[in-house]
């Protein structure tokens, strides 16, 4: 059975991995992971309101992901214009 503490731990783990992320590819993997964890949390609490500590952790994680995306080298658009 899935324990809420496991979900919280996966969020914490993700935060550490975001800090260590150094490439756009890695970032995309982490973004996918974040989306998965987010949907797991929503599924876990279903109709109930998501507890504040989870909501805060999710917001923080999203903010760190956005921040990290901005810190990584700008996306190369040369292929896009071909």
């Amino acid at each position: 059975m899935l324990d809420s503490r496991i979900l919280l731990k996966s969020l914490n783990d993700l935060e550490v991995r975001i800090m260590l992320c150094k490439s756009a590819f890695e970032w995309e993997l982490l973004a996918k992971k974040y989306v998965d964890v987010e949907s797991n949390i929503k599924d876990f609490f279903k109709k109930k309101k998501i507890p504040e500590n989870f909501a805060t952790a999710l917001d923080t994680l999203r903010a760190s992901l956005v921040q990290k995306k901005g810190e990584l080298p700008p996306v190369d658009l040369s292929d896009f214009f071909k």
């Binding site: 996306v75 658009l77 896009f80």
Partner: protein, 316 residues
Amino acid sequence: MGLIKAVADAVMEKAKHEVKDYLIKFMEEEKEKEEREKEKKTEEIKKEEIPAVMQKESVKIEEFKEEDDEDEEILPLIEPEFIKFTYKVKPQDFTIPGELADIIKMLPVEEFACFIKLMMFVFEQKKNFGYLGNTLRRKIGLESFENEKFDKTVENLEKYGVLKVEQVSDNQKTFILYVPFDEETMVKAEYQKPEKPQQKKVEKKPVKKVDEEEKKSVEKENDQQDDIPGKAVFGMENDDLYKSYRTFVSLEIDKAKMRVGRSNFDKIYMEAVKYIDKKYGFKVLSDSEKFKEYLTNYYISAFDIPTFETWKKTKV
């Protein structure tokens, strides 16, 4: 005399036994011979049968080859007029019109699956057409198909007459699915002028705190939204012009990069990421194609690059 007779009888008796034994042996040998001959015959028959089977198999292989050849000569199930449309309001459920169902049920399994998946994919975007890009196979969940197989399947669908591929530019293709047009629920997709990006104005405004609900609604809208300003609109009348506009934008961005310097450009990029996340949602950030499109629009607005309409006027 009696003794001689007894001896003669004994000899006769023995001779009888010997004849019996000889006859039995002879009979057994005969039987064995017959069995051997039978075995030989069956072996010969088997040997004769094997080439026949082989021949049959080779015939089958030839038939397969012929079938493969036939694949290339697919005849269209229909010859429809392909109309690009969008749904006025996205129907709640994904449905297949009866007329279309009658046609596509005749498709081979792979083509059928591919058509349905494509249809479901574009249905999510409220339309019957889409961009035939490298990521399409993954987006519609056909990773099990290799690129070549996927291309072939799309090609076959085109031959069957249920799909049309249009070459928008040198490296841009679109597909249109045949879905019977219903005036009540659908609107023909006509040439749409790229909207003038309003991002710059929004950017200058003080950043407002966006509620979770607002974010969700924005994300939902963006899931369905496909008309991104600055994005190539399918079926554009002036594709070549648009292509040269894109080259122009690319050069302008490069110039701006040189002008503002690396560190400033990185800062602008950071702002762009934050802006795109806030305005269009996190999903856009993780979708590389969409992100590039929104990022381009951000640059267009941030570096004062003329919009397509303005640029076009200078060219005409």
